[in-house]
């Protein structure tokens, strides 16, 4: 790797591109060339640096760590002359905000341990040399030249690594099962179809550190005896697909992929396969069908993919994060990895924290950390000083947990015991103003939409569940509905073909268990305690507070508000469509939301 005295990172986030980041980049390269500085200053493209709406186009200069913002092509000659030729920081171009933030992945918080995310935002994903400088591909070298495939599996077994896709099956045992099958060729697949709403840690790893995934895959292929692999990436992640393809081409060029890797006679190659927007393709048999160009519908197991997978041949399928960890285990040893986490869940896990929490974004923490530490210490607590109500773990097939569970240690077993699951690692935090019946309805809307339709319990059952929840949210629920919900959930869980169907009722089951009073309030009192369900709320103007400014009356789309100027206004509840615009526009907080009689 060549050495430069300065590195310039130019943000090529979509918003910055729209604001002319490419033109700035070109001007910068032209000017550096003109000044003869191209050998001294390296220009790299990176994802967003600050808020692009405030700062774009912007760039960062290292090692000084100076953030220049709102740049124009005409600013570049002056900037290059002052900063790079004369060594003076140009104050007038500096971003006003001192803190430089990556909105997805900030500086590590005190309780974080970054293993999978260690290179994200630090290295250039388009340059394999950056990865090699961070010990990249040395684990592969060690595996191929010093270890037998059995020893690799043994090392991974000792580390306690479990599948990060959600089910938590021990990775080494899965590899062993596939290795034992006497059939060739063998295939390796990487599940990068990260469909859980709120989960985006795999996207970040693929975009920012694709080589770590490729290296893990080559090591796994060596352990299993696979000759060909596919990374199945969802089409919603165009930058991940692009960076993966660049990384694969570079790895081939450097001899880490293809024929006779490291001259050891071991050969393995990889291709990217794109999905086309189907949540169910994250299920491994559906993923395999989709790789083969078919409708992504699951099939019953057995036979498991280890026996019959891609093209009917033995196939090992793991998640992005599982593969990305493998090189680190071989580099630092199984004992090091197993020293983190709990008895049965070893190492670290990435989580995507979303919802009503101060610091949303990605985190990586050792297993065993409590939900309270995640929400309050790492996540910074609930937004706007509101109260915590619930947290959804495990995505749409997981479950909602309450304040009672805040001291639960995050590991596979503890979450399952609490009626939720680890899943891929999405954490959606909900504040006290969230209606849990509405959330249950919302999750069912998702699974109903994403049901592939192959088996009846899932196809029809999720639709019936959704209809019942809609009815309750609309204030039409009857007491019998609660029993019907219970029965339906049970039937769907017991009789569906794949994990999507079996897990689909989980949000409803857990929310009915933990927030039964809210369901009952909707049904018996026709009241939405969180004041969210439109059919069960009404707006009222408080007489004492209203100044009669007429803003609400003028903004009401259905002319439901009347009242003379400087007199308290009144809402006609017959005409009102509960759109809430009056409450939004009122400058005096005079519009109250109420629920119940």
């Amino acid at each position: 790797m060549a050495f430069y005295r300065s590195h310039v990172l130019v943000s090529v986030d979509p918003e910055c591109l729209k604001r002319g980041a490419h033109e700035v980049l070109d001007a910068l390269n032209d000017e550096l060339l003109a000044q003869g500085l191209l050998d001294e200053v390296q220009v790299l493209e990176t994802s967003r640096i600050g808020d692009p709406h405030r700062f774009g186009p912007d760039l960062l200069v290292y090692p000084e760590n100076v953030h220049y913002a709102n740049l124009d092509v005409d600013d570049i000659p002056y900037l290059v002359e002052e900063h790079f030729l004369k060594g003076r920081t140009v104050e007038k171009f500096r971003a006003q905000e001192k803190a430089i933030s990556d909105e997805e992945l900030g500086a590590p918080k005190p309780k974080e341990v970054r293993i999978v995310l260690r290179n994200c935002g630090k290295i250039d994903p388009h340059n394999i040399e950056d990865y090699i400088a961070e010990d990249g591909y040395s684990a592969l070298a060690r595996a191929l030249t010093e270890l037998s495939p059995e020893q690799v599996i043994d090392e991974v077994a000792k580390s306690g690594l479990r599948g990060r896709g959600g089910a938590g099956f021990p990775a080494a045992r899965k590899w062993q099962l596939c290795r034992q099958v006497a059939d060739n060729p063998k295939y390796l697949t990487c599940n990068a179809d990260e469909g859980d709403p709120g989960a985006f840690m795999n996207r970040r790893v693929l975009e920012s550190d694709p080589h770590s995934v490729l290296e893990g895959m080559v090591i796994a292929a060596y352990a299993i005896g696979a000759s060909m692999g596919y990374v199945y990436c969802r089409a919603e992640y165009p930058i991940a697909v692009q960076n993966l393809n660049i990384a694969i081409a570079q790895a081939r060029e450097f001899g880490f992929l293809g024929q006779n890797i490291f001259g050891t006679g071991f050969s393995f190659d990889l291709e990217v396969r794109m999905g086309a927007g189907a949540f169910v393709c994250g299920e491994e048999t559906a993923l395999i069908a989709s790789i083969e160009g078919k409708r992504g519908e699951p099939r019953p197991r057995p036979p498991f993919p280890a026996q019959k997978g891609v093209w009917g041949k033995p196939t090992n399928n793991n998640n992005v994060e599982t593969y990305a960890v493998v090189p680190q285990i071989l580099l630092h040893g199984a004992e090091w990895y197993a020293s983190m986490g709990t008895e049965k869940s070893k190492g670290t896990k990435t989580f995507a924290v979303a919802g009503d929490v101060v610091n949303t974004g990605l985190i990586e923490v050792p297993f065993g950390i409590t939900l309270r530490e995640v929400v309050y210490d790492v996540g910074g607590g609930i937004k706007d000083g509101k109260g915590f109500k619930a947290i959804q773990t495990g995505g749409p097939m997981g479950g909602g947990l309450t304040a009672e569970h805040l001291d639960l240690p995050l590991d596979y077993e503890a979450l399952t015991a609490a009626g939720s699951m680890m899943g891929s690692g999405g954490l959606i935090v909900m504040d006290e103003e969230t209606c849990m019946v509405d959330m249950a309805r919302f999750f069912m809307e998702f699974t109903q939409e994403e049901s592939c339709g192959k088996c009846t319990p899932c196809r029809v059952g999720t639709r019936r569940l959704l209809e019942l929840l809609e009815k309750i949210c609309d204030g039409q629920g009857v007491p019998q509905d609660l029993n019907t919900l219970d029965d339906l959930c049970h039937e769907i869980t017991q009789n569906s073909l794949c994990g999507l169907g079996q897990g689909a009722p989980n949000p409803v089951i857990s929310m009915m268990k933990h927030f039964r009073a809210e369901f009952e309030a909707h049904i018996y009192e026709k009241r939405c305690p969180a004041k969210v369900c439109r059919a069960l709320i009404h707006y009222r103007i408080e007489e004492q507070t209203c100044t009669g400014c007429t803003v609400c009356a003028r903004n009401c789309p259905v002319e439901a508000i009347s009242g003379a100027r400087r007199q308290a206004h009144v809402i006609d509840l017959e005409k009102c469509i509960r759109c809430g615009i009056c409450a939004q526009v009122c400058n005096f907080n005079a519009v109250a939301v109420e629920s119940g009689k």
Partner: protein
Amino acid sequence: MNPTKDLTQIVQTAVERHGAQPDAFIPILLEINHEYGYIPAQAIRQARVLLHQPEEHVLVSEGQLYGVASFYHMLSVQAVGRHVVKFCESAPCHVQGGRELWRAVQQELGLQAGETDPQNRFTLKTVSCLGLCGVGPVMVVDDDVYGNVTPEQLPNIFARYE
């Protein structure tokens, strides 16, 4: 997205680029969808002719291709407007103001999910999580991503697309 482009040419280029093998069906259909805006029945007929090679033991029917095209959310077998508005309907966006924004989007465009306006300007669609939850609620118009969207910004955003 440009329905004025020559469909035959698009189909041919896509098949050549990805190869006439079963595992290339999805990439081929994705490319047609991106280039033409959607996958008309004619494109399926043309692609089938190019992909069906009995002598190579690759047997392809139109129904098989239609089955794939209609299964995946990002492939459309129905005509769309000049611009496609994709609204993220996932939970993180939903709890961060997506619920109010969705009502505003429908009102602003005068469309429900799946509809296209009579002027053929916009088609409104919902999409599942785009993984941009850190900046929710998120909306995508054609290939442009908008994060932290508020109802007040909508008229300005839509005005950029003719």
